[in-house]
Amino acid sequence: MSFTDITNIALMQGFAGLSLFAVLLLMGLGLAIIFGQMGVINMAHGEFMTIGAYTIYMFSTLTETYLPGFVSAYFPVAIIAAFFIAFVFGWIVEWALIRHLYKRPLDTLLATWGLSLAMQQTFRSVFGAREVSPTLPDWLLGSWAPAEGLDIPINGMFVLGLTAVVTGGVLLALYRSRWGLRVRATVANRPMANATGINTKRTDRLTYAIGCGIAGVAGAAFTTIGSTGPTSGSLYIVDAFLVVTFGGAGSLLGTVASAFGIAQTQSIAEFFLTGSMAKVLTLLLIVTILMIRPQGLFASKIRR
């Protein structure tokens, strides 16, 4: 084991941590908006991610059938489509279901859980019970090898880049746009926001739909690293809630910090311990910190 080998492993391990951070953050972002800002416990978050994943699958199949020349180019288009498809579904779900339950958080939990089961079975009926594998463009596969023995996963870099873009976009939108202002006002004090002329119902619907749209983007991106099947979303839901709760509901910065903390702990522990023990250690740490600080890492300073 030479010095270069160790350096290479250290570099790749560093990137593994970063890439897990990106995955956790991306899956947590949509939920941070829906659960963090609106207080809706959205158990169907994972299924909105699955919508994104199946969008990629549909695009890849259609492209292969009708436009075989564009296989290398469909992916970015499909990601944008994934956002809008999940957005539209989110809009409909908010209108049909969520808006009736804003004052009943436990009922929302049950309702969205039921929704998630219904969506899973719908995916199963439409796309079949078996997992599918979208054909990914060549430029997303394999690794970038700047030196002998050093392989940086391209899909990891892609997810990292996409996460940066989406996070930046959400932060900008929330703190520099009219929509963001309305959301923050509604979260801070709903009757007062209403009184100042903000259509809070419309704001809610838009916020929920945007959260779902971001879940769609996350699901689409995860086709490069994970599975696409009716229940793929359920693989992520627990981690997504963990990230948001640990970061402190209502704080986007908290979500970022918590994703980073969990990812690094998990990734480093996995390297030195076994996979299951690493998970145990990470969860123990989170539980301990949440016992000391029930409001999460960053508590919002909003009077509720």
């Binding site: 079975q121 997992e131 054909t135 023995g149 996963p153 994970g226 693989l235 990734s267």
Partner: protein
């Protein structure tokens, strides 16, 4: 399998070998006449059914218990389809003892208590003659006490960890030793592998399998060692740290038993980290054609899988089976190891009923040992007195199109040994 004293393999007798050749030579359609023209009149219901099973002069009712919904639907769909296909074919040939088979389908919904409840319903309320079902070991363990108490008969299709044997279960998949030992011996002999890195999902099947694998590597393979053994929770989707550990140890072989959604993530990330077949030898016991659908052929091409059946097997039985399967379920459908094992269930049951001349579970259980199936797509199988199958082990190399190319095959049928000595 150099070790002659090894109890796992028993050489075939000449008769068996001859029968096997005959089996391979004859397509299933040609097998029809001999036994099936038996009509119900020859076998009066009062005689073939002394235990109040749901058998009439024209009909016999069987149960099918798999997960059509929930997480496991991904895997169990193939078994459901294959069992139905076999039953349809048997009915088209005149049924069993002149009686048509009627299936009562129950959905275990990927939930083990539901499996238990539904199996009780099938046995106590419907009085089914037998049940084709279960996939995970967890579901089998959940229904086993019920089958033993109510005296039912279960045909279980999945390759599994062994350490079980019941009068009330026929295991049509392979137990651990039939899959693992041959694969490891092959890796050691053909690929000159000395160092093994074991990776699995964290539950009973991978853990038991790896325990057997470790014993075999350390005790039976020359100068070989296990350089890593890792388990990840079910549903784990991030394997980058594990991959770095593998890079650190540089094993000759990665021996993998990762399942479900994790499987897809594992192979996608291996490829993304530059671990491809050109640089690394990987042998898995958990990837069939079904799983490759989700993983994507390009992500696993060149890696090896140890199974007893591959869709690409070149024999007349399999050709007919693949053709019938695709005709029934679409030209794009694929057939994995367990799907084929599921297909064996109804045929073995039929052969056993005809040998016993009765549907009674006790008689079926007693008559099962020695039942042969020459029409099996995997070639030829025979039921051992321990209710597992003698079958061949095979190694397939994954191709980019999602199929496997068979690169090795055990020369003899391997005797099932659910309680291997020295491996526990």
């Amino acid at each position: 399998m150099a070790d002659k004293k090894d109890p796992i393999q028993a050489p075939l007798t000449d008769t068996q070998r001859r029968k096997m050749l005959m089996g391979m030579a004859s397509a299933p359609a040609l097998m029809m006449p001999a036994m099936t023209w038996a009509n119900a009149a020859q076998y009066p219901t009062a005689k073939v059914n002394t235990t109040k099973l749901a058998v009439t002069d024209t009909e016999v009712v069987v149960g099918q218990l798999h997960s059509a919904t929930g997480t496991m639907a991904i895997s169990e769909t193939g078994s459901i389809q294959a069992e139905q296909l076999a039953i349809d074919q048997i009915n088209a040939m005149g049924g069993v003892l002149g009686r048509k088979i009627r299936v009562i389908k129950e959905d275990g919904a990927s939930d083990w208590p539901t499996f238990a409840e539904k199996s009780k319903k099938l046995l106590v309320q419907d009085h089914v003659a037998c049940v084709f079902g279960c996939w995970t070991s967890a579901s089998r363990k959940a229904v086993l006490p019920i089958f033993e108490k109510e005296n039912g008969m279960l045909y279980y299709p999945t390759f599994y960890e062994g350490l079980e044997q019941s009068k009330n279960v026929i295991y049509t998949g392979q137990e651990a030793t039939q899959q693992i030992l041959f694969g490891l011996d092959w890796a050691s002999k053909e690929k000159k592998a000395k160092t093994f890195f074991l990776v699995g999902s964290d539950y009973i099947w991978p853990r038991t399998s790896m325990k057997i694998a470790r014993k075999h590597i350390e005790g039976h393979l020359r100068a070989s060692s296990v350089v890593g053994e890792e388990y990840y929770p079910l549903g784990h989707t991030n394997f980058n740290s594990l991959i770095n550990k593998i890079k650190l140890k540089k094993p000759d072989v990665i021996f993998a038993a990762v399942v479900g959604g994790s499987n897809v993530a594992f192979y996608k990330q291996l490829k993304a980290a530059g671990i491809t077949a050109s640089k690394q030898f990987l042998l898995t016991i958990s990837v069939t054609e079904d799983e490759v659908l989700g993983i994507g052929g390009e992500n696993i091409a060149g890696f090896y899988s140890s199974m007893k059946y591959f869709q690409s097997l070149d024999n007349p039985n399999n050709k007919a089976f693949v053709e019938a399967f695709k005709k029934a379920y679409g030209p794009k459908s694929v057939i994995g190891d367990v799907t084929q094992a599921g297909y064996l269930g109804p045929w073995i049951w039929k052969a056993t009923v005809e040998k016993a001349g009765s549907f009674d579970v006790d008689k079926i259980a007693a008559a099962s040992g020695g039942i042969e199936l020459k029409t099996a797509p995997e070639g030829y199988v025979k039921v051992h007195d321990n209710h597992h199958l003698w079958s061949r082990a095979r190694i397939g190399m994954a191709q980019a199109d999602g199929q496997f190319k068979v690169v090795a095959e055990s020369p003899e049928l391997i005797q099932p040994d659910p309680f291997p000595k020295g491996y526990q």
